[in-house]
């Protein structure tokens, strides 16, 4: 269980003005939960995810995982990046093996594990290709396999499908659902898309504009497993209602934000 308490962070921008990125975030993520995080651009979603990953410090508040305070990266967590962040000189196999190699896992064992994952994300036959030879969707499949290779309990995903085309994105969503249904990790998934947030999440966390705070948490009552009938779900009344509600909330946030900017 991830528990976030009164988390605050203020950056200093290049011209010296303070940027209040997070203004006291309280959030609990349950074990094996698929949590999606939605909010206007710049509200601190990436910042918060990196804090959970242990890649970024904060000013006030606490983050604990199963009661232990987060002080840095750990083997229980891994992260998937919007821009894939693969090693361009390494093959698909070596990219997927990377985390295990860093941990000193023996070659044969790590390649065996990587092979399983490469198959799981549908990249069999591409083991010896480099990222530059793959499409964006395939690169992100590598990113997901690489993150899973270290057997994390928590998968942190920062707009992982934001840089791939719509059709690929839909395929990847279905694949991610089916991976999660089989492995049951805790997932924190940042997205800009209301549809994606509802389709994937058990709960959708809505963050308000800077300084980022939790403004609402919406339970998604759609039945699981969802991977087998994504199309049906998207036509269901619950789905339509929740996405409409989320859009209402986001729209009012945007116009409020604009009003605040206008006063300034």
């Amino acid at each position: 269980m991830i528990e976030i308490n009164q988390l605050t962070k203020t950056f200093t921008s290049q011209d010296g003005t303070p940027v209040h990125a997070l203004g006291g975030v309280d959030l609990t993520v349950n074990d094996n939960e698929f949590l999606t995080l939605l909010g206007p651009s710049g509200c601190g979603k990436t910042t918060m995810l990196k804090m959970i990953a242990g890649l970024q410090g904060w000013d006030g508040g606490t983050i604990t995982i199963d009661g232990k305070a987060v002080t840095g990266p750990g083997p229980d967590r891994s992260m998937v990046f919007q821009n894939f962040a693969l090693l361009p000189w390494a093959t698909v196999m070596d990219n997927v093996c990377f985390g295990l190699r860093l941990r000193g896992t023996e070659r044969r064992a790590r390649e065996e594990r990587a092979q399983e994952l490469i198959e799981m994300v549908g990249l069999s036959g591409f083991e010896s290709k480099r990222p530059g030879e793959l499409s964006g969707g395939m690169q992100q499949r590598v990113g997901i396999a690489r993150a899973l290779a270290v057997d994390p309990q928590i998968l942190l995903m920062d707009e992982p499908f934001g840089a791939v085309d719509e059709q690929t994105r839909r395929l990847l969503q279905e694949e991610l659902l089916s991976i999660w249904e089989r492995n049951r990790l805790t997932v924190v998934f940042v997205t800009h898309s209301m549809e994606e947030a509802v389709l994937l999440g058990d709960r959708v966390v809505l963050m308000s504009a800077r300084p980022g705070q939790i403004s609402e948490i919406v339970e998604v009552p759609l039945a699981r497993p969802r991977s087998s009938d994504v199309g049906g779900l998207e036509r269901s009344r619950e789905y339509t209602e929740i996405t409409a509600h989320l859009w209402d909330q986001l729209r009012s946030m945007h116009s409020e934000h604009r009003a605040v900017e206008a006063v300034r």
Partner: protein, 200 residues
């Protein structure tokens, strides 16, 4: 001619070779630590701006008229481009790439060897290419004094003796060597860093 060319090759090899060893090292330290960087960057830029012909006299006073001063000149010409390319390469590494490694538990040594070094390799190689080209353009300056045997020395001496044909031949040879070496280095780079210029 061969004898002269070979002598010049050896000098460029030593000068550029030292720069290839020290350039990435210094560039790496400068890219790594803001402190080292602000301390040394002005000197590096200053050195880069100096015309080799201007300081060859000093080098001769310090290191004698023999080969040592010529090595120094070629080294000083080749060093800044390599160091500066290395720094630029390190600055250009995307934070995501390093964070991805960190999130998978890489310590700072592993980040250096597994992420930073391979990421800067393409820039180091292009720095070496620039430096080698630059060394050829300074070889005449380096061999101005006591530069025989040496293709640059020969070009200069034949010029003063009005052997125009020989001078032109020497310059042609220098130009051709520079182009050939550059092409070879370009292919070497393609061989060593085939991923460079591709996505991600």
């Amino acid at each position: 001619m061969w004898e002269h060319l070979l002598a010049s090759f050896r000098r460029i090899g030593v000068g550029v070779g030292c720069a290839i060893v020290l350039g990435p090292l210094v560039g790496f330290l400068m890219g790594r630590s803001r402190w080292v960087n602000s301390l040394t960057e002005p000197y590096l830029n200053f050195l880069r701006a100096l015309p080799p012909l201007g300081y060859i006299g000093l080098l001769i006073v310090w290191f004698g008229i023999g080969d040592l001063s010529k090595y120094w000149l070629l080294f000083l010409a080749a060093f800044p481009p390599i160091a500066i390319s290395t720094i630029n390469g390190m600055r250009g590494i995307r934070a995501d790439r390093i964070q991805a490694a960190e999130s998978m538990g890489a310590n700072s040594w592993q980040i250096t060897t597994h992420v930073i070094l391979p990421s800067t390799l393409p820039d180091i190689l292009s720095g070496i290419r620039i430096a080698t080209g630059f060394a050829w353009t300074t070889v005449v300056a380096a061999e101005l004094n006591n530069g025989i045997p040496g293709i640059g020395g020969l070009a200069y001496v034949s010029g003063t003796q009005l052997q125009t044909a020989l001078t032109i031949a020497c310059i042609m040879v220098i130009g051709l060597c520079a182009v050939a070496l550059d092409t070879a280095l370009k292919y070497l780079a393609q061989l060593l860093v085939p991923w460079h210029g591709k996505a991600s």
